[in-house]
């Protein structure tokens, strides 16, 4: 039964990174749907101010020329969450933000994005989001092995159409 012990040893020696990769590959091309809820001028204006914006058209929700900051909805990680503590990893990331990493002792970093804007988001829009993991790659770097993951997202205003599409890259160590 030495083979069983050897197999068990191999399985048990899998790192959390190995497990994350395995789970992620199972999630490739699986689309998840969620909603950001209603976009409000007040929240968008606070976002603009937090980003250091000075243009009153984006920072003053009472401005007659008010426009939602173009990066607002694509920067949101969630709508106002409900059971916040249960949704979060110990590092503060949402458990489902990086596919396959829930419950694993891996470090997560954002690698960047490319975003295409299709139509302006308007205050009052109800925005839905679809997310699909489209790429998983294991790499070797100076600091050790890591995973590169790419998630494709589509933001849609109900009744009006697509606001933005993007690819977002994550680094998992």
């Amino acid at each position: 039964m030495r083979w069983a012990a050897s197999y068990a040893a191999q399985v048990n020696s899998r790192s959390d990174l190995d497990i994350a990769e395995e789970r992620a590959r199972d999630l490739l091309q699986v689309t998840e749907y969620s909603t950001l809820g209603e976009v409000t001028a007040r929240d968008s204006a606070e976002f603009a101010r937090a980003a250091g914006e000075t243009d009153p058209r984006m920072t003053d929700s009472d401005s007659p020329d008010f426009v939602v900051h173009p990066m607002y909805v694509v920067s949101l990680l969630r709508a106002a969450p409900g059971r916040v503590d249960e949704d979060l990893r110990p590092d503060g990331m949402f458990r489902t933000e990086v596919p396959g990493t829930d419950g694993l002792a891996v470090r997560l970093m954002a690698g960047g994005q490319d975003v295409t804007f299709h139509r302006p988001c308007l205050a009052g829009d109800y925005v839905d989001v679809s997310r699909t993991l489209i790429w998983v790659e294991r790499k070797d770097g100076k600091s050790g092995k890591f995973l590169l993951m790419t998630v494709a997202k589509t933001y849609t205003a109900r009744g009006r159409g697509i606001i933005a599409t993007l690819n977002e890259r994550f680094i998992v160590r």
Partner: protein
Amino acid sequence: MNAEALRPWSCTPSHVQLARFSAATWNFHRIHIDPIAAAEEGLPGPVVQSTLFAELAWQAVRQWLSEASPELVCIEWRNNRPVSAGQTIRWVCTEVTREGRPPDELVTLSLAALLADDEAAVAAAVTVRASSI
């Protein structure tokens, strides 16, 4: 418009800004707000959020196109190294390219976010509609 004529634009994200930005985006990742958590991940301090880099790149472009109200078509960026709160970022335009024909012509400004050692923490590209500038 050529890249050399566009003066660098600098900004210095503060700890307070990072905390405020995390709140506004429901981003509770502790590396942006907690010095201890940042240190545990080998970072010198709380680091600038990825999407905040994009906002700052957009602000830099609008500084350079200050006479216009540019229409944002695309934005892309790559995070090369973390930037801590309190570090000054100097945005420089490295290239300006045009594609297409009026009225659909697009202008892309490529940017680098340079730190004090002149290393590029972020490489970005912002595309606007030429008719809007």
